[in-house]
Amino acid sequence: MVFIYKQGKQPCFFYENWLISIIIYYIISVVIRMKKDKVLFVIPAYNEEENIEKVLKEIKRDVHYADILVINDCSKDHTEEIVRKNNVHCISNVFNMRYAMAVQTGIKYACENGYDYVIQFDADGQHVAKEAEKLYKHAKETKCDIVIGSRYLKDLGYPCPFFRRVGTKLFEKIIKIFCHKRIADPLSGFQCLNRRVIERYAKMGNYPEFPDANLIIEMLRSGYTVEEIPAKMRLRDAGESMHGGIIKPIKYMIQMFYNIFFILITCPKKKVKTDE
């Protein structure tokens, strides 16, 4: 930058160089916009040797620019070998940590390696890769923090068991009452998180065992924006559901209510900034 002195006048640095600085600023902003986002698919897998190959191939075909990370949660079958055979990055947990902690492992990996978006994806073939792309684009356009792929927002013909539907409705009501926001499918594991959320989740010491409605309430309360778009889903082909049996869902519900109760007490409500 050049300082120009004129006799009897103040040094007029700003006046001479404003055009150049505007041009430089414009170029920098263009470069920043050109920089591609790093997107990571986090796929926690536990005993999914039948499905995982199909899922990986589908993602590679439909979302070619994204990286894939499979978190093998100490499976007892050949999941890891199949993943490695497909040339996909794989983290094998040292011991079985359950679903939530496996997801957090992936989020920590994403945080360390500077990924901008993380898409949580299931290994059982329920989620569709093309819908994941939709989620990512929505997150990028609206700049909201969490985008949820919802089964129930529009009727997409997803058949589901009666009790699951009732539970979902219940949590939807709870979120509506306490956060004034309609999230039709708070139990969905199909989410797209941006950098801010990744950093927060990675540093979270007490990541809940079931990160569903309670985590959404917590994030909404601490001022993050959560949005939802309809997403198609398939029925699972093989393998067992995480919430199978009779005792597990009851335990899940009790734990969930307790968690939500705690969050409502401990987490003070912040006002969400709206641009409108």
Partner: protein, 115 residues
């Protein structure tokens, strides 16, 4: 004569705690409260009427019940302390496991790329 047995039992408890600490099966900081408990037991064995005196001070009609209440409070406090520690350690273990698995994956990747 009855309290001689109790004195022996209390001393035996103290020795038991002490031996365990010496064998490094029990950390010093962890053994503190058990040592205190066995010491209180020894005191009560030597002066058995002190509990009656304290009960009269507080206004408890039946002195042995005071003793039981104190025991229960001590045990519950110990259990609560333990479960607090368990959850803190659980968190640490999971954190460690996650970091180890990430690092293990990284090391394997480096090995493969060098070949």
């Amino acid at each position: 004569m009855n309290n001689i047995y109790f004195i022996i039992i209390a001393i035996f408890c103290m020795i038991f705690v002490f031996v365990n600490v010496r064998k490094k099966k029990f950390s010093i900081s962890e053994s503190f409260w058990w040592m205190v408990a066995s010491f209180v037991m020894l005191l009560l064995a030597i002066f058995p009427y002190s509990i009656d005196y304290i009960a009269k001070l507080i206004g408890v009609n039946y002195p042995p019940s005071l003793f039981f209440v104190l025991c229960i409070i001590f045990l519950v406090a110990m259990i609560f302390r333990n479960s607090k520690r368990i959850s803190a350690q659980q968190e640490k273990i999971i954190e460690l496991g996650q970091q180890v698995s990430i690092l293990k994956a990284k090391v394997e990747e480096d090995k493969n790329s060098k070949r």
